[in-house]
C-alpha cells in the first residue's frame, strides 16, 4: 500500500485555469505538508496542516488554497494558473506532536502550465 499518494501524477493545463491536486496518507499521521519543487530542483515549503488546522502558510500567492477535509487528506487548489506555477508539487506527512518527526513524501504531481 502506498503510504502517501497524490493524484494526478501529471497535470497539463492552460494559463488561467483552476486545478486541484489531491493528497492522501494512510500512515495515521496528524500533520501534512505541501512543498513546491521548481525547475532547478529547489524544494520549498508552501503549507502545513496539523489535524486539519493550518499551521504554516509561507509566502504563497493567495491563488493557492489548501483544504484539509480530514487529517488523512490535504488537497491543493490553484486558481488562475500562471506559467510560473509550473513545478512538481510534493505532499508529505509526519506524525506530529514530537520534535523528532520524520516526513514521508508522496510521488509528486508534475504541473505544466501552457
Amino acid at each position: 500500500d502506498t503510504a502517501v499518494s497524490q493524484t494526478p501524477k501529471y497535470l497539463v493545463t492552460q494559463m488561467g485555469n483552476d486545478k486541484s491536486i489531491k493528497c492522501e496518507q494512510n500512515l495515521g499521521h496528524d500533520t501534512m505538508y505541501w512543498y513546491k519543487q521548481d525547475s532547478k530542483k529547489f524544494l520549498k515549503i508552501m503549507f502545513s496542516y496539523n489535524n486539519k488546522e493550518l499551521i504554516i502558510n509561507e509566502t504563497v500567492p493567495n491563488r493557492f488554497s489548501p483544504k484539509s477535509p480530514d487529517k488523512a487528506h490535504l488537497n491543493l487548489h490553484i486558481n488562475s494558473l500562471e506559467l510560473g506555477d509550473s513545478a512538481v508539487y510534493f505532499c508529505a506527512s509526519s506524525q506530529g506532536g514530537s520534535s523528532t518527526d520524520t516526513q514521508y513524501f508522496g510521488p509528486g504531481t508534475r504541473l505544466t502550465v501552457l
Partner: protein
C-alpha cells in the same frame, strides 16, 4: 530562520569510488538533520536522519552521515558508490523546539555514477 547549503551541485564519480557530499546549515539552536534521495522521476526517499546521540548515523543502502556540531555540518558519505546511486541528494533541517516542523532543504546535489 534556518538555511542549508550544499556546495557540490553536480558530482560525477566512477563506480566503486568513495562519495562525500557536503551539507552545512545555519541556525543557532538545535536542529534535526536529514538526507533524502530522489531517483530520476521518483519521489523523495529518506536516506537517514539525525536527532540526537551518536553523531555518526547509518542509513539505508550503505550511506552514512556525520554531524559535526562545531562546523554546523552533516556530510553524507558512502565508501563505494554504484551506478544505481545516480540520483539527486537533498540535505534538510528543521528546528527543534519551535513547533515548526517544515523542512528547509538545500539546493540538492546531482550525483552521476558512471559504470
Amino acid at each position: 530562520a534556518q538555511s542549508v547549503s550544499q556546495h557540490n551541485h553536480h558530482v560525477i564519480l566512477s563506480e566503486a569510488a568513495s562519495l562525500e557530499l557536503g551539507c552545512n546549515y545555519s541556525y543557532g539552536g538545535t536542529v534535526n538533520l536529514f538526507w533524502y534521495v530522489q531517483y530520476p522521476g521518483q519521489h523523495l526517499q529518506l536516506l537517514l536522519k539525525y536527532f540526537s546521540g551518536d553523531p555518526l548515523v547509518k542509513g539505508i543502502k550503505g550511506f552514512e552521515a556525520e554531524f559535526i556540531k562545531s562546523k554546523f555540518s552533516f556530510n553524507l558519505r558512502k565508501p563505494s558508490v554504484q551506478w544505481s546511486d545516480t540520483a539527486e541528494y537533498f540535505c534538510a533541517v528543521n528546528a527543534r523546539g519551535t513547533g515548526r516542523r517544515a523542512l528547509t532543504f538545500g539546493s540538492g546535489t546531482r550525483l552521476q555514477v558512471q559504470p
